[in-house]
């Protein structure tokens, strides 16, 4: 069996000095899709931040994409983050430049030297999210769902081993949420990327069933039957 992409053992997630989640044990296999549910303030975002080392891991052990979260140094953060695709509810595309420039910016930041290769990769991911015509469009000229697809295209640029999606459908209507989720699952499968998909929206779980974890009362439990 392959090394899991995420392996957490007896992890306590802290926010400041306060523990938010205790005794977290979590494995995510390559290419696996996992929902993360729980009420507001239950610690979903905090757990995800711990995975991409935006919160330090102080208790327990954790490995993400081959990086030991206990030992990771600041200078290794870029290497970890390049193996991940991080997407939020707030799309945070750079508003002062076109879609292609947004994507190009990320490629340059992650060491893609050759302009032609960057151009080719940008076309690939825009085709993948069905927005090939958006190249030269400014982000504000796109709908919310389209912006979220561009953000997802951006997350795919470096062929991530794990996509971390934190409430990505929070601002979308139900139809668009479903479309976005379907697109992400499809593309993740094609790219053999695992997805950790944090959401409030229980209706999504009905449409696309998958392994589901719940944050509640400071612990994470696996929901055998996530549907009510």
């Amino acid at each position: 069996m392959l090394e899991p992409i995420v392996r957490l053992r007896n992890v306590t997630v802290h926010r400041g000095d306060r523990p938010v989640l205790r005794d977290v044990n979590l494995d995510v296999a390559a290419g696996e899709f996992v929902y993360l549910v729980g009420r507001t303030g239950s610690g979903k975002s905090s757990l995800l931040k711990t995975l991409y080392a935006d919160l330090p891991l102080r208790e327990g052990s954790g490995v993400v994409a081959g990086h030991d979260l206990r030992k990771i140094k600041r200078r290794n953060l870029p290497a970890l983050r390049q193996r991940l695709g991080i997407v939020f509810q707030e799309v945070n595309l750079l508003t002062d430049r076109s879609v292609a420039e947004n994507l190009d910016f990320v490629l340059r930041a992650t060491g893609w030297r050759r302009r032609e290769e960057r151009g080719r990769r940008i076309n690939e991911v825009l085709h993948a999210v069905n927005l090939p015509a958006a190249r030269d469009v400014m982000p504000y000229a796109l709908s919310g769902g389209e912006q979220q697809r561009i953000a997802f295209a951006r997350a795919l640029l470096n062929k991530p081993a794990l996509v971390i999606a934190d409430e990505v459908t929070g601002n979308l209507d139900h139809e668009t949420s479903l479309e976005t989720l379907q697109l992400m699952r499809e593309l993740a499968r094609k790219n053999n990327a695992a997805i950790l998909f944090a959401t409030h929206d229980r209706r999504l779980l009905e449409h696309y069933q998958a392994r589901t974890l719940r944050c509640k009362d400071g612990v994470i439990t696996s929901l055998e039957n996530p549907l009510p």
Partner: protein
């Protein structure tokens, strides 16, 4: 993006660099002037009224090859009539008209090398010369050049200290402006970090801007300094030679380089501190 704030910072830096250049040029001028005074310092050896030709010849020979004598100059003998004339033409003719004796003595004058021009060295030189046969007494202008040098140095130190303080203040000002502009761009920076950009990549555009701004400030200061020097040269024609232009050129080059260096360092420290402190907030 050029906010007025950044523009003011560049102008302040230029201003401080200009003051620094001015101070450096003042220090150079003061040093140069005291040097000229010291080189021209005459030591006057009064010969006894009854000295012999042989004693005079021996004294001249002694001085010529002694280390007290400035290289490339020769001690000069001046008889008392010439001495009187050179002192005061009218007094000389008045004395002659009145049939009075010339009160002066025959003298030998010489210049000491710069190294011997301090009072304590001069006292030693005077004592050595005074002990020679046929010498009555030795005079020199006590401590004038020295006083000049000490005062010039004092002014340089005080002004230089103030300018350096201004330089530090400017550095802090730049540093704060950088952090302000970084926190205005914090979303961009956060995004860069999340997609895996290194700090080096994130800082690069800021450091380039630092180099250009520093260069601009330095060149502004150099232009102002050259202009000031040119204006000054119209009032003081004696500094308007090529040798006097060269130090100005060197100073201009130095303040330009310094401008780039200071701006770069302030930016570099500003960016690093901003990135690091934010991390510390989290960890």
């Amino acid at each position: 993006m050029h906010t007025p704030n950044k523009f003011y910072v560049t102008v302040s830096l230029a201003l401080v660099l200009f003051l620094l250049g001015l101070t450096a040029y003042w220090a150079y001028l003061a040093d140069d002037i005291t040097r000229k005074f010291r080189e021209d310092l005459d030591v006057v050896v009064e010969l006894k009224a009854d000295h012999t030709m042989e004693e005079r010849r021996q004294l001249l020979a002694y001085l010529t090859q002694s280390p007290f004598n400035q290289p490339l100059t020769l001690p000069k003998f001046l008889d008392k009539e010439a001495a009187l004339t050179s002192l005061d033409r009218e007094l000389a003719s008045d004395l002659a008209a009145l049939g009075l004796n010339n009160p002066l003595l025959d003298v030998v004058t010489f210049n000491v090398p710069i190294d011997y021009s301090r009072s304590d060295s001069l006292a030693v030189v005077a004592a050595a010369v005074k002990s020679r046969e046929g010498v009555d007494d030795v005079y020199y202008q006590k401590g004038f050049a020295e006083m000049l040098a000490v005062n010039a140095r004092r002014v340089t130190l005080v002004v230089g200290g103030v300018v350096l303080l201004l330089l530090v203040i400017t550095g802090i000002l730049i540093h704060n402006t950088v952090r302000l502009s970084l926190s205005a761009n914090r979303l961009l920076i956060k995004t860069q970090e999340l997609v895996g950009a290194s700090w080096g990549f994130i800082s690069r555009p800021y450091l380039w801007r630092a180099v250009w701004q520093g260069l601009l400030a330095g060149l502004l200061a150099a232009a102002a300094l050259s202009g000031t020097w040119y204006g000054l040269a119209n009032y003081l024609p004696e500094i308007r030679s090529l040798e006097d232009g060269l130090p100005v050129l060197v100073i201009c080059g130095s303040i330009t380089a310094l401008g780039v260096l200071i701006n770069f360092l302030s930016y570099y420290i500003g960016v690093r501190r901003y990135l690091r402190l934010r991390i510390d907030d989290l960890y």
